[in-house]
Symmetry: C2
């Protein structure tokens, strides 16, 4: 096990009707003037926004609103939010929505106290200061409700980049599974794939003997496999939604990643897909992960066999472990298909002839990408090609 | 799943030589005058205390020392610590040791700013204020390094009672597995049993469909089963010690208990054993848990079967699930024996004829004890008797 530090200080209020506690929680965490930031119309139409604002009114907390966050959230809205916060002396940001609203809220939070361009932080500058951010989650997927990260697409060139700091971990997050029952089957499946991928990026490691973290990873994956079909079969299944919602948090607050090297190549490869085609991040991951697995299986056949046996219940082939390893990847693909995910470029709407563009966008330097296997440009091309040819 | 809140704000610094960061961490968390509280001689003899004090000196942090914390920590030392802190204007408490030093540090932390007797909090008074507590852990067991709880034995009548509040969760905890390699085989096994029991108290619940929390529980138990024998076979096995150390934290910061009713009857039954005989808490739990399981199995045979299959790899008997359930309990007893734990009164040094005294000490009112099965005095007597007769 390698040395690590772990800090997940977010306060979670989980369960039915918990959005009504927004006002009292903001009061407790010291917010005086709040930016309420949300995405599209569903937050408004469902009455959620009204309930939240009412809860703020009841505590005499003043606020301004900014809607319009979109999937693969954009820089334009971030600049707008920063201006608004400065003009209105906002000292606290409440994101109401999914990963997009939260990630763009985090970008605003670091932009407000910074004199330069907030994008600097997405190009590697260290975050030194941020307004406190809190969330009311409406979509189980990104794990941004507890994570230290934020991903934004800059409209100048459609470059998608991430940043991270414990300073942008939400101070509190309200997780009410009821708010996710209106999420479509496709978006539910994308969310499950996204959180599965958050675990896989940490699961495939060269660090040996981190049994506790392995077991946590496997527990989350087993939960996703068990609960996603239930949520798809009956969108109002509260317990299925609740299990997925909490699994999504654990999948990305790093409790399943401590003590080991992590990979994250697949996320980077996918970012270029969703930047170029504006596809759902989860769908892009469903396409990229099986390809990444097939290409890298030889790096550690026994680890892939462990994945197959413990997560997908495969029988171990003690004579030829690579058969078990392959079966695990195949079962993972079957799972993705069964929940309605694409596993190849065609279904995703991506094109094989764009691979050179994707590689160009990735801006790969001599350091390559990924840790389990450090991928060169040539490796990346082969993985994109596997994904392109998968059907 | 039932509504819950979850807050585990402790910052963890985990790994080799991390105790050298004590000074910089105290500085970061605002401590100016520190009480360094520890237990017996090993912290001194090993040179750990010197290293810690040196790290404080390097940051010009002043401190006073208080040693002498003992297993099943006593009220007398707490009163002494409170007086010392007030006299020296201490504003931060650093516990160096195992659960005993940490629990007594927490008691001091709530006693200092309170005008009355600190024991009030152990008799049910709500904690409103506490000095910040931090820990350097030297024994994997109690989980007090991240938990909101503290258990103290009052010397007046040897009453053992617990209290809890998020205010006494440590602000930071330093976990260096190297510091645990000198822990004896018996204490190591007691520690593993203690953390196993922390999971079981949460695992046996009547709340249905909390798959994610079940899986986390099972992952921790599998890790304990896998790693404890390695640590016993070779006390210097760093990875085994590291897996156990982190599992001990996760077993008790409540991440494996959210969304469900928890039981905790066995802990209460055990507290009277260790109060009366001053035996190790883990050893007492090894005696009480199998008895509790046998007595309560009929409450939910399928849950015990799940425990047997998922945690101990038993084959499911689909015709007679109670056979599987029983086999799980039996395998658990075998595991406890294999790591050197007692599973009956005799080996523990307890006496069957003391059962009326134990029940008297428990001060059971009409509310009974426990949630999975709410136990009456009569039930408790039968469970103590099962434990007394187990060999």
């Amino acid at each position: 096990m390698i040395n690590f530090n772990f800090h997940s200080p977010t306060y979670f209020e989980f369960g039915r009707e918990t959005e009504l506690k927004a006002g009292s929680l903001i009061e407790r965490f010291g917010g005086k003037k709040v930016l309420v930031h949300y995405g599209g119309g569903s937050v408004v139409r469902s009455g959620l926004l009204d309930n939240v604002l009412k809860s703020l009114d009841e505590r005499n907390i003043s606020y301004v609103q900014l809607g319009g966050a979109v999937p693969n959230p954009r820089s334009g809205l971030v600049y707008q939010g920063i201006d608004l916060c400065r003009k209105e002396n906002v000292d606290f940001i409440l994101a109401v929505g999914g990963g997009s609203a939260i990630d763009s809220a985090k970008a605003i939070a670091i932009g407000v106290p910074y004199e330069g361009d907030f994008w600097d932080f997405y190009e590697g500058k260290k975050i030194e200061k941020a307004l406190p951010v809190a969330t009311i989650l409406t979509l189980t997927a990104a794990g941004s409700e507890a994570s230290s990260s934020s991903v934004i697409t800059h409209e100048n060139g459609m470059v998608k980049r991430g940043t991270g700091s414990n300073l942008i971990r939400p101070v509190f997050s309200i997780l009410n599974p009821e708010l996710t029952t209106s999420v479509s089957a496709y978006q539910t499946a994308c969310g499950s794939t996204d959180m599965f991928a958050h675990v896989l990026e940490r699961y495939f490691t060269n660090t040996k003997n981190v049994e506790i973290t392995d077991r946590i990873c496997e527990g989350i994956m087993l939960t996703i496999i068990n609960e996603t079909p239930k949520a798809l079969a009956n969108p109002n299944n509260y317990d299925a939604r609740a299990n997925l919602m909490w699994a999504g948090m654990i999948a990305h607050n790093d409790i399943c990643g401590v003590g080991r090297e992590q990979d994250w190549a697949t996320h980077q490869l996918e970012h270029e897909l969703s930047a170029l085609y504006d596809v759902a991040h989860g769908a892009g991951l469903a396409v990229m992960f099986p390809a990444w697995m097939k290409y890298n299986m030889k790096q550690d056949v026994m680890r892939f066999a462990q994945f197959a046996v413990r997560v997908f219940g495969c029988e171990m082939d003690f004579q030829q472990p690579e058969n078990t390893a392959k079966e695990g990847i195949s079962k993972f693909e079957q799972f993705l298909k069964s929940i309605g995910m694409p596993i190849g470029f065609r279904e995703l709407g991506a094109k094989k002839e764009d691979i050179p563009t994707l590689i160009e966008m990735l801006k790969l330097d001599s350091n390559g990408v990924g840790s389990f296997v450090n991928l060169s440009k040539d490796d990346v091309e082969k993985i994109y090609t596997l994904a392109a040819e998968n059907d």
